[in-house]
């Protein structure tokens, strides 16, 4: 993985604006980006988008031999893949630390928390069990990958249905979906992970975007500002902790974690409710034989629509619908004399010269104008 280069001015600006109580995209500290879940044509495939972060998850199943020590339990594999499509700094065909970390977090949340009833995946003890495989593909990386990936994994697992199996004597028949209704996966509880970025050791930001994530984990050269970190917390709908992971150099007091946990538990519950609702509504649509596939999101989120939301830099009250005011048009008709001059100094540049002279780097020397 190539380095992500972060300039000092981005770091200083984000740190300053966060300490003043704002965020770049106009959100409050505890506000998440809009979450959107859409399903594919098959059971167990979904695309989850959290703002501009997008993750595709697909569950598949096959019949395998169980492990010797657990002869009556099915298997669960989670596989995370990233490629340069997600972000330009990710290299192709190379396992990055980020992908390994993500994989481990998801395994902790869904395998180690025992949320899936693996015993129900057993067909013949010591001989045949179902093996579920979750393929998670990162489509776009704009921060908070773990939350987006975990929602995608959970939704895909909860949405997935495996073919029905009948045993008669020694023979096992796997029925086609058209023959017999497929069986949904049994989930004991629904864990969801969430990320909290810690700034200046005491400011907590929910759902950090890529810039906020890289700023809070980056070290500051002069060493004056204390560093922050990322806190990953996983909760299920009963508000029980499933995962917790702290990276960076942030932990200065236990109060931070407690503060983070309170916000995260409510948020995770909301997300789980949303996932359940999405699956139920998808199920009713499928029963009515409405065709569902990913083409829906392509038409919904085409290029022109993207401009209306998810700007990375946004004022809190910016809303595109307010814009069309008729009285504005009158103002355009008589061009006002401008206070500031736009000068095209060189080809391909245009700069506003302020009369207040806010910085030193533009020196409007007389000889440069003559050139």
């Amino acid at each position: 993985m190539r380095d992500v280069y972060l300039s000092n001015c981005e770091k200083n600006f984000v740190n300053k604006i966060v300490s003043e109580g704002h965020r770049l995209d106009g959100r409050t500290y505890n506000e998440s980006r809009p979450l959107n879940i859409s399903f594919g044509s098959e059971y167990g495939s979904c695309i989850v988008s959290l703002g501009e972060t997008k993750v595709l998850a697909q569950v598949s199943c096959e019949v395998v031999q169980p492990k010797q020590i657990r002869p009556n339990e099915g298997l669960l594999y989670i596989n995370v893949e990233m490629n340069p499509m997600a972000a330009p700094h990710i290299e192709a065909n190379r396992q990055t630390d980020l992908a390994v970390h993500l994989n481990r977090m998801l395994e902790k949340a869904y395998k180690d928390s025992k949320c899936i009833d693996l015993e129900s995946l057993c067909i013949v003890v010591e001989e045949k069990v179902w093996s579920l495989r979750v393929d998670v593909k990162i489509l776009n990386h704009d921060g908070n990958l773990i939350e987006c990936a975990s929602i995608a994994t959970l939704t895909a697992l909860a949405h997935f249905k495996r073919p029905d199996v009948t045993r008669s004597g020694d023979s096992v028949t796997i029925h086609d979906i058209t023959e017999k209704d497929p069986i949904p996966t049994v989930l004991f509880h629904y864990p969801v992970c969430t990320t909290i970025a810690i700034f200046n050791t005491d400011i907590l930001l929910a759902d950090p975007n890529f810039l906020e994530e890289s700023v809070c984990t980056s070290s500051i050269d002069d060493g004056t500002t204390p560093c922050g970190g990322l806190l990953i917390i996983g909760f299920n709908q009963y508000k029980e902790i499933c995962v917790m992971n702290l990276s960076g150099a942030a932990l200065s007091s236990a109060g931070i974690v407690r503060k983070g946990l309170q916000g995260a538990s409510d948020k995770c519950k909301e997300v789980v409710d949303l996932v359940k609702k999405a699956i139920i509504s998808d199920d009713t649509l499928r029963r009515k034989r409405v065709k569902i596939n990913f083409s829906d999101i392509i038409t919904q989120d085409h290029l022109q629509c993207l401009s209306k939301k998810d700007l990375n830099i946004k004022l809190k009250h910016y809303n595109i619908d307010d814009e069309v005011d008729d009285d504005i048009m009158d103002a355009d008709s008589d061009p006002e004399p401008s206070k500031y001059d736009v000068v095209a100094s060189k080809p391909q540049t245009a700069e506003i010269q302020t009369k207040q002279g806010a910085s030193q780097w533009i020196e409007i020397s007389s000889d440069s104008e003559e050139d």
């Binding site: 380095d3 280069y5 972060l6 300039s7 000092n8 001015c9 981005e10 200083n12 600006f13 300053k16 604006i17 003043e20 704002h22 770049l24 106009g26 330009p88 050269d221 290029l303 022109q304 993207l306 401009s307 700007l311 990375n312 830099i313 946004k314 004022l315 809190k316 009250h317 910016y318 595109i320 814009e323 069309v324 005011d325 504005i328 048009m329 103002a331 355009d332 401008s338 206070k339 500031y340 001059d341 736009v342 095209a344 100094s345 060189k346 080809p347 391909q348 540049t349 245009a350 700069e351 506003i352 302020t354 207040q356 806010a358 910085s359 030193q360 780097w361 000889d367 440069s368 050139d371």
Partner: protein, 236 residues
């Protein structure tokens, strides 16, 4: 497939139109076109465009910068290596910036540049097989507008948006300049550096620039007025 100017083209398509013009006179092939022994081939997906007399290129939505000579770019200094700085300009490899290519710099008088600084520079060498080289002075040794950018904020956007706001017909900068004072430097590599008196004004500026990507000229004007009224309204 055979294509002509104005068509939506795909890699592998070929244009006999350009080849025919090329037989008569000189033709300039822009991004997305390549000359092979048996004709002109398309290497990018997009629309084939032409500018009189004989310039052709493929236009598409793009975020990845491909260095081109003479363009002004914004880069981040990532490494000091002997007498050059390595600068990330968003291309496939870092660009090199000699410490002598600053105004008034000599071997003894080194410019003050540290890692993480943002520089506004001009592409001097942009070859297909070599590391690009950038400079912070013009041919007279003057810095003009180039140099290290201090404070402010840098954000990334698509290359198309940069071209749009630098287009003299785009009303964005002209509408914004009446509203509040600010400084702006737009690099052709899809990075914009902005600076205003307050944080809120800086964010409003970034918002206006990013928001203008898919708006028409009239909509841009009304958006700028709208943003200014939000700013003036003191709604937190």
């Amino acid at each position: 497939m055979k294509v002509s100017v104005g068509d939506v083209v795909l890699p592998g398509d070929f244009s006999e139109e350009i080849a025919a013009v090329g037989e008569k006179g000189k033709v300039i092939l822009g991004p997305g076109l390549r000359k092979e022994v048996d004709g002109i081939y398309i290497t990018k997906a997009g629309t084939l465009k032409k500018r009189a007399p004989n310039t052709f290129w493929v236009d598409n939505y793009q975020k990845r910068y491909i260095p081109a000579r003479g363009e002004n770019v914004i880069g981040i200094v990532v490494q000091k290596a002997g007498d050059i700085f390595r600068v990330d300009v968003g291309g496939s490899c870092t660009a090199s910036l000699s410490y002598l290519s600053f105004e008034g710099a000599t071997k003894k008088n080194r410019p003050k540049v540290v890692n993480g600084d943002v520089v506004y520079a001009k592409m001097l060498v942009a070859s297909k097989d070599m590391e690009p080289e950038i400079v912070c002075v013009d041919s007279h040794g003057k810095k003009g507008r180039l140099g290290v950018l201090e404070d402010g904020f840098v954000f990334k956007c698509s290359l198309n948006l940069i071209r749009k706001i630098l287009n003299p017909e785009c009303p964005l900068l002209n509408s914004l300049k009446n509203e509040w004072p600010f400084e702006l430097a737009a690099g052709m590599n899809g990075r914009i550096w902005i600076k205003a008196n307050t944080m809120r004004e800086t964010i409003a500026l970034g918002n206006a620039i990013l928001g203008s990507e898919y708006l028409s000229n009239d909509e841009i004007k009304s958006m700028c007025t709208n943003i200014a009224s939000i700013l003036a309204g003191h709604i937190s």
